[in-house]
């Protein structure tokens, strides 16, 4: 099975071959490195930019104005924070121009902790991203969704932020990408750049097929009846694990992968909460003015009298950063025991 990095690479290849993607660019995105997570190796239209995030986003905006399709990368979302004004422009161009100029661009960036990235390779961007009206925001938790969401993002005529959970970039999925050879090694031999001299290397791409995960649609990863857990990105494997633990104890936890943060799949979330009466939203961005609070707030508004327990949010501590030492990182972002503890707590609540 492909890793998420390979899946993204294949979606971008599909994009440049079939969807008119003209430019895939950012710091170290082109040859020889092909991206710090190898997600842009071997692509025809991938190129290295100057070390200048503002320049990267600005160039993407200009390409969008010209009607071209591009995918721009910010190497780590930790370094996207000097471009918020430009992202706001990305989100308001159609609106300010009275519908005359759309902004068909994709900006992708790795997010989250989990790789011992210390203060500046552990930031999250989901709460921030949901404060950028005009953008669509997606975040896959497995390679197939990454493939399908990226293709959907490229096709979308609006600006789309594609958040890559960096701790999952090397994790393999459980489903084949349409066109992917079933042998992992074969895929590797075809599309992974070799160690050492790459100047003569060319990838051999599998015959990929279009596969779209519609933006705005979540997915029930595990059905259950006692409690709903809404999450996205890296928090998935943890939530699934936690849910399994409770299944063994005879409880039934429903796990929802939001996949899209904006627009979000309220119908699915709402349906699930109506079934279970209890909900936990998990993410790793800082907890104050957090997107999970929006979802919890909405759940409270719409289901106040149906809820069996307070809608709960488990997120990153409201700290200036995530420390390098494992003791620090673990105390700062949700980990398995935290999730289990929250679930147990909510299940124990008696209305």
């Amino acid at each position: 099975m492909a890793s998420m990095a390979q899946a993204i690479r294949m979606a971008l290849h599909y994009g440049e071959k079939n969807l008119g993607v003209t430019d895939i660019f950012g710091e170290d995105v082109g040859a020889p490195l092909g991206g710090v997570f190898t997600a842009t190796q071997g692509l025809e239209n991938a190129w290295n930019s100057p070390l200048d995030e503002r320049g990267i986003v600005s160039a993407a905006l200009g390409l969008g104005l010209a009607g071209d399709r591009c995918v721009a990368e910010i190497q780590f979302c930790d370094y996207i924070f000097n471009t918020i004004d430009l992202l706001k422009i990305g989100g308001n161009t159609l609106w300010c121009s009275n519908g005359q100029y759309n902004m068909p661009i994709v900006v992708m960036t790795p997010v989250g902790a989990g790789i011992r990235g210390s203060i500046y390779h552990s930031h999250s961007f989901d709460a921030w991203a949901t404060r950028l009206p005009g953008w669509k925001v997606v975040m896959p938790s497995n390679p197939l969704d990454a493939y399908g969401l990226l293709i959907a993002a490229i096709k979308d005529p609006n600006p789309v932020l594609f958040l890559k959970p960096k701790a999952l970039m090397r994790v393999r999925g459980e489903d084949l990408i349409p066109g992917e050879p079933s042998d992992e090694k074969e895929l590797k031999a075809m599309i992974d750049a070799p160690i050492g001299d790459r100047s003569k290397w060319k990838p051999r791409w599998p015959k990929l097929e279009e596969y779209e995960v519609p933006i705005g649609k979540g997915k029930i990863v595990q059905e259950g009846t006692d409690l709903s857990v809404g999450r996205y990105g890296r928090m998935l494997p943890l939530c699934v694990k936690a849910a399994e633990m409770f299944t063994r104890e005879g409880r039934s936890i429903e796990v929802i992968d939001l996949r899209s943060l904006y627009p979000y799949d309220w119908q699915m979330i709402r349906g699930s909460i109506q079934k279970t009466g209890r909900v936990l939203f998990v993410n790793e961005d800082t907890e104050v003015t957090n997107f999970g609070e929006h979802l919890a707030y909405r759940a409270t508004q719409e289901m106040f009298y149906e809820l069996m327990a307070r809608p709960r949010v488990l997120a990153g501590k409201n700290l200036p950063g995530i420390g390098l030492h494992p003791n620090l990182e673990e105390a700062s972002v949700p980990h398995l025991e935290d999730i289990e503890h929250e679930i147990a707590d909510i299940l124990a609540e008696i209305p």
């Binding site: 003209t22 320049g55 160039a59 200009g62 121009s97 009275n98 009206p133 005009g134 979000y264």
Partner: protein, 386 residues
Amino acid sequence: MRGSMSKAKTGKTNAKAKAMKATVGKAGVGKTKSKAAAPKTGAVKGAGGKDRALGLLPKELVLNMFDLMVKSRVLEERLIKVYKTGDAFFWIGAPGEEAFGVPLGLLVKKGQGPSHDYLHLHYRGTPTLIAMGMPMIDSIRLIMNRATDRSTGGRNFANHYCFPEMNVVPVGSPIEVQYGMAVGTAIAQRRRKMKGEESGVSIVTGGDAGTAEGDFASALIWASRPGAELPVYLTVQNNKWGISTGFDSQHGEKYIADRGKAFGMRTNVVNGNDPIESYFAISQDLEYIRKNTKPVLTEFAVSRLYGHSSASGANREAGECPIELFEKRLVDSNYIRSDFKKELWEQYDRESREAAELVRTEAGPTGDTIWDHVYVGNENADWRKF
């Protein structure tokens, strides 16, 4: 340019109103679409006389520039009146930048998409747009934030134009970000050029104070990447002010344009109050960019005649007026009679007043339109309806 220069030397006397409206065949592609029947120039002799620079351009072009400069100024003064009579919340605009803006507008390769020139303007673009044929009423609808305002639908300030059919991308308020976006459209144009396709230049304008923002420097870097040089025309209109702050109090550069030199970039400093000098500079710069697919950075000295914006009163202040200077030259060289400007002025004033009166009767956008155009095709963006 050489072609039109020698042609210019044969320029006819007694230019007719029709001639005034014509475009210069070679250099300019822009056409003025003004519908006003222009008064006669009343010129008795011509071809520049002692003013040799004047004689280097076709007389029709010279007179057309004057006409458009006056028209632009009249429009701006109309906008100020609209503001002062309480029909607008805010004015910002370009009085004092006509001698730069009009030639630019005439020299643009006008049209839609990367095969034409892009215009990344800031909030002083009226002269350029008037030269490109924007009807006055479009500008008035914008400042009066009517539903009929094409550019923004009543959402944004005066001079925040947007006209996709002329590649006028949305003018924004944040200073200097247009330079980075011009890099983006120029990347699209370079790609086409390299494939042998028709392509244009990305033209960007901005003020002097704004060059302190890192985005200006970023554009210099991106425009001059080795082997990937961009067809981008980086211009700066130096009026020596950023609101209340004098250029010389903040900037150690003698010329902003000098900053291009470290990048091996062609640079110029131009008297932007002289439309003839500006015309030649812009024309040659654009020609260089089109031919070499390389950037140019040119600084134009301009005036700020009504202060920064309505926030500082929008009253006439001291300063060299490019129109007065030009008028004097034209009168001295017998291109126009001394009462010509007044007539022209009155005619455009009437046009602008009638437009303002019409716009006053038009409706504003309704509150329920706020969700329009968040996403393409009015796809729902209101979370309450997800």
